[in-house]
Symmetry: C2
């Protein structure tokens, strides 16, 4: 079912060759987990695998992880270090062993202290940001990846249905958020994909709002819920916006505009289209409406082990989308002091179109609560 | 109650002066949240505040965060950027505005892509790792910080009691983990401090084990649970190890050894002691036992907005602990293929001793389940 470790690591060696560098480094995170299967944490301890374009990989491993590391089946040299000794000697031994002049790293994941430790061990090491190419290996999903995403989404949609059933006027945003989180785990989430956004009324106008303990939802409010379960290491990311008790004519019109933009994204997506073309078409629907001044965000982002990953669905990104990639289609309109609407689906690109992995209804919903 | 923003930022200006650099940069994370109070996310978007040693701070803000940023009350220059334009121009404008030659960053938090964007905008900018000094401002807790930690710990202990009450032989580690997570949120957690460790039998021997869906707990197993709630932005971090149905004589002896080490940590802690001295005394108890070959970790780490922060309680760290700092006292003994025991309390250092913020019993517990 799953490729052997050597084959998974060989893919990163090929990335090094493509990038014209002598090796690729992975630190704990989604690429590292994809490579070794077993999840590891890093916290304050440097931990990395270096995969040369040719030759055998090597790893720098905190001593307290060695027993878990044994489960990985790694065949290269391992340089471990203990807290009380510090890690400088391990980095020096690693770089002396590798004898490389250039290294591509995950710029969005590796932190500066690891970068500095590498440069301290080998000042002339050229470190380049290989994020796009390294994480790009996760862009086309395997059947197992898709099954995990579907499982995460199914849990999320059940939790959302249960949460919306329980909403009552006068509850605080925080109370609704807590109900959502409990429902996620009750339905089998192994974790939250990210801390949810539960925002009502004027709070819904902030794309990354935080639930307020002192805001009680009231009739006429928009209620925006952006959340997701994590299952088998993969993240769902779903947004629905509903209205409580009633929706004003203008609210309904704004909602209809966002829904048309969302549907435009579904309609035009197929393998071979560029990220730019999707955002241009989706955002174009919003721009052609009377609400163009309420646009705040791009159309979406890739989704998989990470909640935000390639491809980024935005104008100027002329990356061609292959069959098997998954992205969020999440147009929105936001006006501060008023309200916001976002409708977010998780879309699987296929050769001749796309499949929405999210199936929760998107029609205008007014909760009688 | 809370200092004004200008006073909070002035503390970072003083850090810049102490470090001999011209400015300090903060990116979203615990220091950023402490500074601006409102929590922000970064994901793939660079977002930073630069506080010069003298003069007015400046910020680089993703356009879609501007409306939330307005809540912060920031008075300096703001350079925003939109997804479709990229962020290079904003970094160029920021560095041209600041006119600094050196910058201290949070090495454990800032990622390499932000470091590279700064260097691209200003190749001669000297970037140093100021992690210890910057995050060090969080080491001495305020009364509000302590209250938040106590709230997080109280939720955690209630959840643990409920979870242990529900343990039955034959449950999987994953089932126990799910019960724990649901209990955390039911008792009022705003988030998990980290993904919990629920490990039984031989799994307990791995300090950072992941719950197994295919391991059913059995009579005689050690059950190690390491977890914490997050409340008001602060993290609890607690470990208890119990035995199911019965404990062998050797298990009881190993447990007693770890408990004596944990109690040693409580007994010797007071303001003015060094991190080295605590680890030396606690680990010394383990070393003097017949189980010295089962030592895998240092004694502990600081605890606050971050689960792992200064001070790191390990030999070789001669940092003096001030009154008001909080750290984990978590000695453990682990033998692969056998079992592990860890007992972790959260300790507040006071002028004349210490207070354990965790109050969950530590005596050997055998669950009749």
């Amino acid at each position: 079912m799953t490729e052997p470790l050597s084959a998974r690591l060989a893919a990163y060696a090929a990335v090094a060759t493509d990038l014209g560098v002598e090796a690729v480094a992975l630190v704990p995170g989604p690429n590292f987990t994809r490579a070794v299967i077993h999840p590891f944490m890093s916290h304050e301890r440097p931990f990395l695998i270096v995969i040369p374009a040719t030759g055998t990989p090597a790893a720098l491993v905190p001593n307290l992880e060695l027993q878990s590391w044994d489960l990985v089946g790694f065949e290269g040299a391992v340089f471990d270090w203990r807290d009380q000794d510090g890690y400088d000697a391990a980095f020096a031994a690693l770089t002396a062993h590798l004898k490389i002049g250039s290294l591509a790293v995950e710029g969005q994941i590796m932190r500066v202290f690891v970068h500095h430790a590498l440069k301290k061990a080998q000042p002339d090491l050229r470190i380049v940001d290989g994020e796009a190419a390294i994480s790009g290996l996760r862009m086309v999903k395997t059947p197992e990846d898709i099954a995990a995403l579907r499982a995460a989404i199914e849990i999320s949609e059940r939790a959302l249905a249960q949460t919306l059933d329980g909403v009552r006027l006068g509850q605080t945003e925080t109370e609704i958020e807590q109900a959502l989180i409990q429902a996620l785990f009750a339905h089998g989430a192994e974790d939250q994909a990210f801390h949810p956004i539960v925002a009502a009324g004027d709070g819904s106008a902030r794309p990354h709002a935080k639930a307020r303990p002192d805001y009680a939802v009231k009739a006429g409010d928009a209620l925006l819920i952006d959340f997701g379960a994590r299952k088998h290491g993969f993240a769902a990311d779903i947004t629905r916006t509903v209205f409580l008790d009633h929706a004003s004519d203008r609210a309904a019109d704004v909602y209809d505009t966002v829904l048309r933009a969302n549907r435009k994204g579904h309609a035009i997506t197929r393998a071979g289209i560029t990220a730019h073309e999707i955002d241009d078409a989706v955002t174009g629907v919003l721009e052609a409406s009377p609400y163009g001044d309420r646009i705040r965000t791009k159309t979406g982002h890739g989704l998989g082990r990470d909640v935000h990953e390639a491809p980024y669905i935005m104008r100027g990104n002329h990356q061609v989308l292959p069959a098997g990639c998954v992205f969020t289609n999440e147009p929105g309109l936001y006006r501060i002091g008023d309200f916001g609407v976002r409708i977010e689906d998780d879309i699987l690109v296929t050769e001749d179109g796309c499949v929405s992995l999210t199936t929760f209804p998107t029609e205008l919903t007014v909760l009688k609560c």
